[in-house]
């Protein structure tokens, strides 16, 4: 790791101010940033730790609306009783991120802002039609995720919370990479009054995406059998030593079927 200045922000306003200096990066758990710094692949001049800002923590379920503070750890999301009752699929997703160490450090805001193409949360946000709330504005998930590690966030913009409506049914099914255990293909299905949304992470060569053909099939008939008839193309899917695009295309379908079955 190169020399770096560490700052611990106590408020979002302070964080925004600190983050405007030099080549600063926000630290919200650091599950990606710190390993990248340790291997010298990332070299910010300053890191601004926002994971201890109390205002950014916690899960709130109010009526049908769920709000999760950006600095809420995966462990706290996974274990939140209200969320487990309202949208168990999200708590379940969080409970399978990384390992216990990662789940106690990593945060939803950090994961979403990083937009790793193999991260789990982006699939949930996109399928749930969630809103990403920042210190400046609100951005819909459809507009937020823009490609590999690319988001709609502007310089100095800080994710403060994630908000979504409780779906009628939802489930997430992940096929982990055998080595890293990141999602090699993860599918989140959500059925709400507005229709069915299916988001796929870990598979697309431009990050998380919606599987429109599967959505169409499930809109007609929300059943695993309905997915069976869909042909998933390998075009636009990632290929690496662990999974070819064809294999990922198969996994998209299999994970979608299993997610639908799990959603009940």
């Amino acid at each position: 790791m190169y020399q770096v200045n560490y700052h611990r922000a106590s408020s979002v306003e302070e964080a925004a101010k600190l983050a405007s200096q030099g080549d600063a990066r926000l630290l919200s758990g650091g599950m990606t940033l710190i390993p990248a710094m340790k291997t010298r692949l990332a070299a910010p001049s300053d890191v601004v730790d926002i994971a201890r800002i109390e205002a950014l923590k916690g899960v709130k379920v109010s009526g049908n609306t769920v709000t999760i503070g950006a600095a809420t750890t995966h462990h706290d999301v996974a274990g939140n009783a209200e969320l487990k009752s309202a949208v168990p699929a999200v708590a379940d997703l969080a409970s399978h991120i990384g390992d216990p160490h990662v789940r106690h450090r990593g945060t939803i805001g950090g994961s979403v802002a990083n937009n790793d193409p193999a991260a789990d949360y982006p699939a949930a946000l996109l399928a749930l039609g969630a809103t990403v709330v920042t210190n400046r504005r609100e951005i819909s998930a459809d507009d937020f995720f823009m490609g590999l590690f690319e988001t709609a966030l502007e310089d100095g913009e800080i994710v403060t919370s994630i908000r979504f409506e409780k779906p009628e049914k939802a489930a997430y099914q992940k096929f982990p990479n055998p080595a890293s255990r990141y999602a090699m293909t993860g599918v989140f299905v959500a059925k709400s009054k507005d229709g069915v949304r299916v988001a796929v992470t870990g598979a697309g060569d431009n990050g998380v995406f919606r599987a429109s053909e599967i959505e169409a099939a499930l809109t007609k008939d929300f059943s695993a059998a309905a997915v069976e008839g869909v042909s998933v193309s390998a075009d636009g899917l990632m290929s690496d030593i662990h999974a070819s695009a064809e294999y990922r295309a198969n996994l998209v379908k299999v994970m979608a079927k299993r997610a639908v079955a799990k959603a009940g």
Partner: protein, 782 residues
């Protein structure tokens, strides 16, 4: 056996320090004034070094010095060697290319060490390493051994035409050819054994400390054999004369073979300490380990196995190409020859065998022994071939094996080995019973009803351990003898130190060796300390590899204990005014048999050291040394059965049961033996399902971290069912065979036989990852 003696499940003495974080590893060693080394490594698989500019790096904060291969050569540091001479079948010696600890004009794999930076902190050394400017001219590279032999392949070493190191054979080519011609059936198959990265939990590390006043060097290093390291560093690498070089291998966190060898880094740390005047420490990070630890396996073989009309094997022909990487590592030449082809008879009576082995340079990390070392390659080849043959012949795999088992001992194979004892049918029966082999068809059907594919596979392995008779290995090209030494020091109050050349880096010697002493003299194991891993404390010894610490290392301890016992009895007889032939040792007391006359052990020891009342002419003290040279290899064997269930939708293979029935000869501590088997099987399943080193076409290692190299995790493994049915080894005093490598040797073919059974396929590549299995399952459908 007593509660702490041979055969007792004694908890490991060493675990207290390991599980409380009190172990002391090389990285824990701190010497006043110590500085930190970072290596600049080649980013290219094959390139000429045009120039090296260290001027900017030298000016960086905290930098002590930045040193190059030219300086190392100028100081007379030698090239790294391979210590086992193999001759090609035309009589020419193996073609060993020069391996400078720091590359001088050429780099030959990604990770080849080029420059070393020494600085106050590791961070400063890293910063300065980035400021070193090396100008390269890239050359074409070759990764696969088969490609390296093709005409026009990039030439890696001037010494080895077309990258061929040697072209060696064993056995009777004519007899094997005739058997194939006369056969009623011949099974032909290509067998690929995938390349693995050892991944010891503790990365390699070295600390060199040159003492100017004494002109003496101390080297702490992560070694399985510190005396061999001292010998080689002094005799071949000119680090220091043996009497001025102390090598210490303290707690070492796993080796699996990869810490047998002497690598560039320890040589450079010792030399750099002398050059700079400061102690120099280097600790590998994980990616350095992936890049530069010696890898394992990487064979491609063509096999023909000939059967007569009664399904008896009448001949075996094997043609193997083994990838040795960019340089010949210390024992790389013996692994694909004498540790591999000599085991090609397996558990079977095969009258004619011929094996040809070509070893090849490629632009990859050096390849050397890795848990099993040659024997997993032989076992995988034979046991895959047997399974395929049984399917082709339409007979039960178990019965085909049983029909061909060797049943009379000793048995001379056509490939050097003389098996001394075994009962292969007993292990097969035990494994089949434990696995409920007969109940498999019903289990397969009920899995099928859920849409799952279930398969069963077995493997009957044999290995040669307890390496090895020194004269025999000498005649086969070994540069060293493979005996072991021991010294037993009885202290004045009777407690005991056993100094052994066997190094413990996970094997539990501190417990098992003490159990042996407890069995002999009745002292609690807490009063017995095992000393190892320091050339200044322990007499010359050969170290730990090839499952030799029990069969060879403990045999040396037995010899020293025999001498101690003889002298102790003489002293006791003198004190008790009895005949020494009447003295027996029971529960820590020397007794006159049949009487109540006795002297406690500690009192006898005290008498030895006060020397007030010793037999006339007897020297004071009680300390004996012994060297033991084995008369033969030992031959652990067994039968492993694996049952898998495959999800055809995802290609995930679940191992639903794994049975190991082993014959290890006599056992000191069954709990430690089971631990060894569990660990070995985990590595074997790792090879079969998960692990594989992957280089891209340009020689970049794609699997250089745990993000891409799949290590077995607990959730990948079933609860193993292990048992032993043992035939004592007649060749050593304790009747031991060795158990450290069996699991890694026997398990990969059992797993692959089960997967191919489930899929109805002849073969599948290792690792049988989900993607590979999915592709195979879906192509098999058509």
């Amino acid at each position: 056996m007593g509660i702490e003696g041979i055969g007792a499940r004694v908890a490991r003495k060493e675990d207290k320090r390991f599980i409380t974080g009190s172990g002391r590893y090389v990285d824990d060693m701190v010497v006043p004034g110590m500085k930190h080394a970072v290596f600049v490594r080649s980013p290219h698989a094959h390139a000429e070094i045009l120039s090296i500019d260290v001027s900017a790096a030298k000016k960086m904060p905290g930098v002590i010095d930045v040193l190059t291969g030219k300086q190392l050569k100028a100081d007379g540091i030698g090239n790294l060697i391979c210590g086992w001479m193999i001759h090609s079948k035309d009589g020419t010696p193996m073609k060993m290319g020069a391996w400078s600890p720091l590359a001088v004009d050429k780099v030959r794999y990604v990770g080849d060490a080029v420059v070393v930076v020494v600085a106050d902190t590791k961070g400063q050394a890293r910063d300065a390493a980035e400021a070193v400017s090396v100008e390269y001219r890239e050359l074409p590279s070759v990764i696969q051994a088969v490609d390296a032999l093709k005409a026009g392949a990039p030439q890696i070493h001037a010494e080895a035409d077309n990258n061929l190191i040697f072209d060696w054979e064993i056995g009777d080519a004519k007899a094997a050819d005739e058997a194939v011609k006369a056969a009623a059936h011949v099974t032909k198959i290509r067998i690929v054994n995938n390349r693995l990265v050892p991944n010891a939990m503790e990365p390699r590390a070295a600390l060199g400390h040159y003492d100017r006043g004494d002109d003496h060097t101390t080297c702490w290093t992560t070694s399985q054999n510190p005396h061999v390291a001292r010998l080689v560093m002094s005799a071949f690498y000119n680090v220091a004369p043996e009497n001025k070089l102390r090598v210490i291998a303290p707690d070492v966190g796993g080796g699996f073979g990869s810490k047998i060898y002497i690598y560039p880094e320890e040589v450079v740390c010792c030399w750099a300490s002398k050059k700079t005047g400061v102690p120099v420490k280097w600790v590998a990070d994980r990616t350095e380990s992936f890049l530069s630890d010696a890898h394992g396996r990487d064979h491609v073989s063509e096999v023909e196995m000939a059967f007569d009309k009664d399904n008896r094997i009448i001949g075996l022909k094997v043609d193997t190409i083994a990838n040795l990487g960019a340089y010949m590592s210390l024992f790389s030449s013996c692994v694909p020859t004498y540790l591999y082809a000599t085991l090609l008879s397996g558990q079977y009576n095969i009258p004619a065998i011929h094996a040809n082995v070509r070893t090849v340079y490629t632009n990859t990390a050096p390849v050397d022994a890795y848990r099993g070392a040659g024997r997993p390659e032989a076992t995988y080849l034979l046991e895959r071939t047997m399974e395929v043959a049984a399917r082709e012949l339409g007979v039960s795999p178990a019965e085909l094996r049983r029909k061909n088992f060797i049943t009379q001992f000793p048995h001379q194979t056509p490939v050097i080995m003389n098996y001394d004892a075994g009962d292969y049918a007993a292990s097969l029966d035990a494994a089949m019973k434990a696995a409920d082999y007969a109940g498999f068809p019903a289990r397969r059907d009920s899995a099928g009803a859920k849409g799952m594919l279930r398969g069963i596979g077995m493997s009957c392995y044999i290995e040669a351990c307890g390496i090895a008779p020194s004269a025999a290995v000498g005649s086969l090209g070994a540069g060293v003898g493979l005996w072991e030494s021991a010294e037993v020091r009885v202290n004045a109050v009777g407690t005991i130190e056993v100094l052994t050349g066997s190094h413990s880096h996970g094997q539990g010697h501190e417990t098992t060796f003490a159990q042996l002493v407890n069995s002999r003299f009745g002292l609690p194991i807490d009063q017995v300390s095992i000393v190892h891993g320091d050339t200044d404390k322990v007499q010359m010894g050969m170290g730990t590899y090839g499952s030799r610490s029990g069969a060879v290392g403990m045999s040396a301890i037995v010899k020293a204990l025999d001498k101690v016992e003889a002298k102790a009895k003489k002293i006791a007889a003198h004190l008790l005014e009895a005949d020494e032939g009447d003295i027996v040792i029971e529960d820590g007391t020397l007794k006159v048999a049949g009487t109540d006359k006795n002297v406690p052990w500690f009192q006898m020891a005290l008498a030895a050291y006060t020397a007030h009342n010793l037999p006339s002419g007897m020297e004071p003290g009680l300390k004996e040394t012994a060297f033991y040279d084995p008369s033969n290899f030992t031959f652990p064997a067994g039968c492993y059965i694996c049952e898998v269930e495959i999800d055809p939708d995802t290609g995930i293979t679940e191992i639903v049961q794994f049975v190991a029935a082993d014959d290890f000869g006599n056992i000191i501590n069954p709990m430690i033996v089971e631990g060894q088997v569990h660990g070995g099987i985990a590595q074997g399943i790792g090879q079969a399902l998960l692990e594989g080193a992957v280089y891209d076409d340009t020689g970049q290692l794609l699997t250089a971290s745990y993000m891409d190299y799949t290590m077995p995790r607990a959730s990948d493994l079933p609860s193993f069912q292990v048992s032993t049915s043992n035939t004592p080894c007649p060749g050593n005093p304790l009747g031991m065979k060795g158990c450290g490598e069996a699991g890694a040797i026997g398990s990969p073919p059992a797993v692959i036989n089960a997967i191919t059974d489930a899929l109805g396929l002849r073969d599948i590549a290792m690792p049988a990852s989900p993607q590979t299995v999915w592709k195979a399952a879906n192509s098999a459908k058509h």
